[in-house]
Symmetry: C3
Subunit: 309 residues, 3 copies
């Protein structure tokens, strides 16, 4: 029996390096299977999604992952605008959804919502984003992308640039990187630095330096992970425009980077990366999206299929 069978995916912090490597190996295996064999893995199984925050991208990634292994998906893509919600508690909604499906995928703005749901649900729960820090399947997707494209994670110099304060993606990635021997550079405007209440725990796992100037480390980086900077985060439009401009990744910036450095982005992108970067060999964000489908398929397969695949 595989160790992930019927287990929840709540936090990236719950995973050891060995477990992550097992997931990566399963993802490699699923990518090599022919489509017909792949569809046997979760044939006839049903994924139930509950999105309290809409996230079309994450939902479709799960939906297509489930379809690729022979399962189907149903659920509620935007509960907040669902007129049927009528004040029902999260607990009741989770209970009912666990009747309708074999695995639950939950996106909820509250910290701890997925762990709470997992305690209530008869079926395994996958956290598809909760609270300020947790988006474990995104972190697994990101780590797999680095491993796949750089052939290793240990020993890499990784820059993370943009809004490091509000994006749960960044925190999950940092916790995940904590399993590896990496050198991390956090690059953000002063007002969007990583939250100090989180850095204490992250620092126990990983060495990082902080800077506001993306040029500081550019020539050393093996990986540059770019995130969106949202205008709404700034009290002052002038500051926003200044910051925004200085962090846009373009061909100029790419020239100052290592020849084999890779650019990642959790997407959707607005204009943090110039379109002409897309066709360079460094741009790996669309591969990253594709790996997201396959890592999710591997996770679903291990959770729902006793013998793995």
């Amino acid at each position: 029996m595989n160790e992930f069978y019927q287990k929840d995916i709540i936090s990236i912090k719950d995973y050891t390096k060995d477990q992550l490597e097992t997931i990566f190996a399963s993802t490699d295996k699923i990518m090599q299977l022919n489509p017909q064999d792949r569809r046997e893995i979760c044939k006839g199984k049903t994924l139930g999604y509950l999105f309290y925050e809409p996230s079309t991208r994450t939902r479709l990634s799960f939906d297509s992952a489930m379809a690729s292994i022979g399962g189907n998906s149903l659920g509620i893509s935007d509960i907040s605008s669902s007129s049927t919600q009528k004040g029902e508690s999260l607990a009741d909604t989770v209970r009912i959804m666990s009747i309708y499906s074999d695995v639950l995928v939950l996106r909820n703005p509250l910290d701890g919502s997925s762990r709470f749901a997992a305690e209530i649900s008869d079926k395994p729960v996958i956290n598809a984003g909760s609270g300020t820090e947790e988006h474990p399947t995104q972190a697994i997707q990101d780590l797999f992308t680095i491993k796949k494209e750089k052939k290793k994670i240990d020993g890499l110099k990784i820059g993370i640039v943009g809004d490091l304060k509000y994006g749960r993606t960044v925190y999950s990635l940092l916790y995940g990187l904590g399993n590896y021997d990496v050198d991390v550079r956090l690059i953000s405007p002063e007002s969007l630095r990583i939250r100090s209440d989180s850095t204490y725990e992250i620092k126990k796992r990983i060495d990082f330096t902080e800077t506001t100037d993306i040029e500081d480390h550019l020539d050393e980086l093996d990986v540059l992970y770019v995130t969106r900077i949202q205008k709404e985060r700034f009290p002052d439009e002038e500051e926003y425009l200044k910051v925004k401009g200085s962090y846009v990744v373009g061909l100029d910036m790419l020239k100052r980077m290592k020849d084999d450095a890779i650019i990642l982005h959790p997407l959707p992108r607005i204009d943090e990366i110039a379109a002409d970067v897309d066709t360079t060999k460094n741009a790996k964000y669309f591969e990253q999206a594709e790996y997201g489908k396959h890592t999710r398929a591997a996770l679903l397969g291990m959770i729902l299929n006793e013998n793995g695949f």
Copy 2:
């Protein structure tokens, strides 16, 4: 050939006790099948849903039921907000949807809408709630739950509490119970009593007494069916708060009931039943939701599969 093959489900009033028992037997059978055999029943069949009132719960119950027997679902989950509606008649929408699917599931606020749709449609129509009185698959789900949990329906004392005026669930359940020898107690505030234009017909089928005081019959009941009381129904907030409080089912109330009484609720629940009741052996509303999936799977299977299963 099974007698439900290609037949519509329009009103619970159309069913005899024998037919209900046949449906219950089929539901039992479907629950015992292994998932693989179950998925052969409607393999490749398509359910088309048309919801003129949104009802995520009912839609997902049908969707998951159809998935469990190997079929798939497509349709419109909220026609009123569909910008494509453009004033098309119900008749035309039904005609088109019957081209796209093997069975139609219709939720519509108008009395008679499902019977009208059934006359027009080439494919069988299932009423998923219409007008003030009809929700036949909910009634079948409720009756099956009582049968399953109490091993019989005849001879039971059944209390129905809450808003008895506006909920179509209550009327359908009463018409369904009319096939059995039961003793029904209707418990509601004065302003939410069962409508007198319906009681004439119900009285021909079933004996019931009415009360405003839930304590009157509590110690005698085998089944307590709880429904939501909506604030909007009251002209006066004070009366609402008074009524609401007096009908909340909690552990205290449970102590005054028979040891083997069961509590049902069509869900979603707001606060009509206290959360600490959930873990008692009397709480059967989540089982009820699960039986809803299986009764619907049985109905779909009998309608779409000539030989039954």
Copy 3:
């Protein structure tokens, strides 16, 4: 290998008469297959839809077509109201969607959007309506309907009535008819005449005459294709009411037509065709909707299945 394998469907203008006849033959074949064999054609394939304009009808036609040949569908049914859109470019959305699916179905208000998407996408793109002129699968559906119901297209007298200015359906049909030797009568109020910038190109392919009076040609027509006239198009309500009334197809009008003339409509219909026409042998608009499902299934099958079927 069939010639449509992995090819895009962008414009009806790209198709020769021979290619249209191949599609019609495939549609005939798919209609004759038993459901089980039909579901083998695209077993396990995924259709990804991206609707920048909502069109429930077109989306469900594709969805049911894909289901009938064993595939499944996922996507975004109304991107403009999707809160996750967050300003992402069409290019990025198309790239991501082509990761999640085997074929893309795109509805977008801009001319050229589908051709642009096809250049970007790794997967074939089907135009489900773009700009002012293009709706190629609707045109194929319409041409197939005429062929099926009249046993030929060449030599027919075809009237097209209603709003000829704004409906992309009309333009696509005219371009498609350009492959055949037909006599076309365009019937519309003065203010809703076909756009002169398009007539130049259409005239190179097809002979048509224009009139405002539907009575002019009624007794000669083999096919009357009716389209909706939308009130919003008129500056003056009085003119709208006058026009609307004069173009309603009713039993009276039918009596003045050939006994074997057929009435078509792309649907949804409001009141351009009186309900009592529905039951006549001339009404073929519901058959047209059904053929729409089968022509789309044939197209999807040829695009996704190397050996055709």
